[in-house]
Symmetry: C2
Subunit: 298 residues, 2 copies
């Protein structure tokens, strides 16, 4: 009981922290291209659940990652995540007009600028991370950046997005569905817990446990997303609901049904808790985050 209360405070503190870090990132940018600057801020600030930054901070305190580097990792993962949303929303992808309760970037700034917003956010993610690693004279700079780039590119998120595109209208097996999600959303979630460990020079064993935890939580996250898309309305969700059914997409709900999908998510969540037993007590927010991810309603 005590811990759940503590978690509410912990989460609020981290969410405030990441907002300040992200605001800082933008106030340090030059403004030679003011339209782009404004559109990037519009995409990033005041929005989102900041799940990846929360995972970063929880992992960082577990592995004793320096706070300046944790901030940079949290910002870089959120920037990569937001860039992918901006590009996903474009007419040639999902053609979405509503995101985080406001018009999508292309609706507000036009398609060409939305594309550049995504492109520039990706560069910015690497800049923010490399800059902090440089400033802190990190011994693990190159390894940390390799891990971010793999999570973002064809071996991770972009690869998963292409698998998703290629799967439209096809019958997907559970195995292909999981492979797709492990790339599309799983890679960044995994990076959220592994990057602080890599940057902190944690042991291979610790990194392996964190990766297993992230794999379970990432999958549970996606299953929950599928359940929400099928069961919650757009207003509560803050984005267009019912998209999967409209696009005739294979999801955990279409393959398993809502009830079995929910059970699978809960099983994964309890696996995640079990993995955390081998980590220091400081890892407790990772357990709470696993619960939050499965029990969220938006």
């Amino acid at each position: 009981m005590r811990q759940t209360q503590d978690f509410g405070l912990w989460m609020l503190a981290q969410q405030k922290r990441i907002e300040l870090v992200l605001q800082d990132v933008f106030s340090n940018l030059n403004r030679a291209a003011p339209t782009l600057h404004q559109a990037m801020r519009y995409a990033v600030l005041e929005g989102g659940k900041r799940i990846r930054p929360l995972l970063v901070y929880a992992s960082a305190q577990t592995v004793n990652c320096p706070v300046v580097i944790a901030d940079a990792i949290a910002a870089s993962l959120e920037l990569i995540h937001v860039y992918s949303l901006v590009h996903d929303d474009l007419p040639c992808m999902d053609n979405d007009i509503m995101r985080r309760g406001k018009p999508t970037v292309w609706k507000a700034y036009g398609e060409a600028t939305a594309m550049l917003v995504g492109d520039a956010l990706q560069s910015l993610a690497f800049e923010v991370l490399a800059d902090a690693l440089l400033h802190e004279k990190s011994d693990h700079a190159a390894a940390t950046i390799v891990a971010l780039s793999r999570a973002a590119g064809i071996k991770g998120m972009c690869g998963g997005q292409q698998m998703d595109l290629d799967s439209v209208g096809k019958h997907l097996t559970m195995q292909s569905l999981e492979q797709m999600h492990q790339h599309k959303t799983g890679a960044l979630l995994k990076a959220s817990v592994s990057l602080p460990a890599i940057a902190a020079g944690a042991s291979v064993a610790t990194i392996a446990i964190l990766n297993e935890y992230a794999q379970a939580v990432g999958l549970a996250f996606q299953i929950t997303d599928d359940i929400l898309d099928a069961t919650v309305d757009s207003t509560s969700l803050g984005k267009t609901a019912g998209k999967d059914a409209a696009q005739n997409k294979a999801t955990y709900v279409t393959l398993l049904g809502v009830e079995a999908a929910r059970e699978k998510a809960e099983k994964l969540c309890s696996d995640a808790h079990q993995l955390l037993e081998s980590l220091p007590d400081l890892a407790w927010p990772l357990g709470e985050l696993a619960d939050l991810i499965v029990k969220r309603n938006s």
Copy 2:
């Protein structure tokens, strides 16, 4: 005379080298997303003048940058350059159907995949560079990656692209035109000569001279581009010609006329040569590259 012959051989050798390096990059990628893998290869391999890699190799031999790192810098800059072309060609940007003498990526693979190709190529650029710096245990990994990310993002190429978008239909002064080009194409060209120097831990003075050289050559490159767009047909150019006039864009040709634009490019080229006099003799291919950039006909 002797040196011009040598330069032909030097250039052929470096062009062969970068093709092999780029082929290697793709053969080391996993193929879980085969459509994306194939479309990325289509965008990158067998095409282009490889001007950025040539500048990288010329700078690398001047500052004694390890060859494995030079290869990675050359590949990463070419990957960033190609990603920007793939996104530029999309219907929401330039709506171009022909590039390097073949259908553009979106014409061949569809718009959604073309967007992902660009996104994944940007991640890959950072991965290739960080991977080599990790492998070589570089002391300058973070600084080198900061420089790449700045050249690619809002402070560099993406910022310039937005300035270009914002300038359509407006009267541009020479100053705004130069600012736009210094970002849009200048930043990556400058990075091509400065990254090997940063990675090699060259002196601040050497980096400053290389940056000045790159500034002159970058501007000369853009002026030559404008002249070619106004005076050469699409077939010789390997891409759509006459686009600037059709889009009513301010260019060096519209602001200065063809003759004065050509004189300006030649003046910049001679400035570049003068700067090289303070660098070691090994810098000679940088002088030849300046000539090539101004005298090219496609």
